[in-house]
Symmetry: C2
Subunit: 200 residues, 2 copies
Amino acid sequence: MGRIITIGREFGSGGRELGRRLADELGYAYYDSEILNEIAKETEYSKAYIEELSQGRPVPLFPIHYGSTWSPSNDPHFQNALDIFSSQKKILLELAGKSDCIIIGRCADYILEEFKPFRIFVYASIDSKLARCKERSKQGEAFNDREMVRRIQRIDKKRRQHYEFYTGRKWGAKENYDLMINTTDRDIKTLVKGILAIFR
Amino acid sequence: MGRIITIGREFGSGGRELGRRLADELGYAYYDSEILNEIAKETEYSKAYIEELSQGRPVPLFPIHYGSTWSPSNDPHFQNALDIFSSQKKILLELAGKSDCIIIGRCADYILEEFKPFRIFVYASIDSKLARCKERSKQGEAFNDREMVRRIQRIDKKRRQHYEFYTGRKWGAKENYDLMINTTDRDIKTLVKGILAIFR
């Protein structure tokens, strides 16, 4: 059984950079959006559609009327979201069985529980996340700070909803992780050295 | 201005051992129950009384009756608890100004905010905390597992109430810390190496 590191992360907290560097140092496989491609192959949904549905919780298109015959299971998007999660689960289990690896997001800490992964959560203050997002945004993207902050909050809200819907656990609550790292004012390279010392 | 590490910790999670080892490695001063002695000297309360009052939040002795003239400020224990917290604050600020140090508990992350301390929170699963408490308990202490679990929960509840009363912040919530470490199934010595790599 391979060794697994899972990384949950707030948007703009540097979780991906941290994961990539860890994977480089350890020589582990690194999975992030690659997983979406695999799901696309398996389910025949487009990558964009999968990306859309695998954020947030599956929301029925119409409000639920109590006593009516309508139920979420009649909603094709709701059903597809569940299909995609089920595919994702299958793929994660396959990848984890194949080699040591680092997996970003995707409820991997929960899905791969039996592999006893080392579960990291990466977070930062909103100012720090804003600064990081501005740094890496393309020049063409003309979000102002307020818009960018709203975008960060919206994405984090979706991640929380997604995680909590599928796992029944609280996203970013300490009991679900082995190590929680605040990247505010911290250099990711230095953090990686420390994580390696703890993990090895 | 000295470098400060503050350590919040759940009871039985190994936070004190971790703090001691960090202090040894770094050559920093280490403050824990020593602080109580300092406060005792300053306030002329007995150490046991201070220990009692500096856990939990200051609870009025009698229920508050709305509309009556009684208020918490008439309760000498309530007032003494506030005095002790104020003394503790003064002493922490003095100690922090004197040299690099590690401070366990005592809302130090909040009180010493202006020193920009490196704020660690140490936690563990209840099973792990139980095992650690049993290991270090004296042979004479004949708590059974259930009693010990209740004791751990009671002490953690007091710590939470104390922290939240004096700081207005949530105890153990990630935004209040730089690093949160789950010691379940982990060796404290290995964790210390990693923390040093991150902190240095």
